[in-house]
Symmetry: C3
Subunit: 142 residues, 3 copies
């Protein structure tokens, strides 16, 4: 199932795509990760549980990746990364949210680890409006 | 000692209790974890080293779990989770602190991992006013 | 190559030095970590990609370590910790950035894990002005 790894992601790459590819090329379909580094541009999303839509906002300028963590599972047969992050600007002020495509790497150092066992698959959860692992619903837990 | 795991925690559950239970039901008494997701309500604590008391504040509304990390050890013979988090609101602004009981899950995806070796036990540290692992005191390190 | 560990770091110690030493004394030269706790004082850095310099700022007062994560590799033949963090004040407001020497521990609980494989070595990257793992450059990835 692969081994834990530490890797620098290429400058200029999309952060979400680069994280996903790092697991995909190691054939790890269930895992967890964290990243530190610096972005040139960030696109953050915020999910609205009422409308079931993400509001995205683009932040341009160099932003430290103060925290970035997430997990790897499968969606539509593909390796899928779910990732949240906290960014800090030059005044050390923080913003945070869901990592969206379009965030551009200046420096990104990824720690990834496989997780053993059956690969969880994201399915659309009608009531919450998100692609979730079925075990996340209270019915499947009991 | 158990294996690393990835699990969705039930909607509506208390986040701190759900994290604790996830380790407890796997008989993992020493571990580390991170969570991403979305809360309906959060209760954060801030410890005051002068008065040795936590000030708690409740935040109502949907808050992204931008970062959530912590560890598992024993306190009073029970599995105990110590957890800090950073939350982001709809304006992507962050708040952070110590996770208190009363924080309600909308979505929470937990990565947990056991840590090998003797289980650390939290004991009351008079000088700091907190339940800490004895090895954390300078006297025990030397 | 060592095992994952959980340890309390001594009160009064420099956080960056204490994290580095924890890996060094276990002979772990490639790893990842996270920390939660409380600082008495923090020194955060923000890297400017234009000038290639860090701007440091000192924050005095008790600050919760809301998130702290990073990695371990080698620089100049020594164990080197690269670490970013998010801190929260008594109003639960967050600041974040690169952990610099001079940050003083009140409480710090460290989870550390070794990462298998060849130890990455930080070398000066002229174009970005930072000590990076060579594989982080696009040329080495292709």
């Amino acid at each position: 199932m692969g081994e834990p790894f530490l890797v620098g992601l290429p400058q200029g790459d999309d952060l979400l795509a680069a994280v996903t590819r790092s697991f995909d090329e190691r054939s790890i379909r269930k895992g967890a990760f964290s990243v530190i580094g610096l972005l040139k541009k960030a696109v953050l999303g915020c999910f609205d549980p009422e409308t079931h839509e993400y509001t995205n906002r683009e932040f341009v300028g160099h932003l430290e990746i103060a925290s970035c963590s997430g997990n790897i599972s499968e969606k539509d047969g593909e390796v899928f990364a779910h990732c949240h992050l906290v960014l800090a600007n030059k005044e050390f002020q923080c913003i945070g949210g869901h990592l969206m495509p379009g965030s551009v790497i200046f420096v990104a150092e990824l720690y990834g680890t496989p997780v053993p066992g059956p690969v969880p698959v994201r399915l659309f959860d009608e009531s919450r409006g998100l692609y979730l692992w079925p075990a996340a619903s209270p019915e499947r837990q009991s």
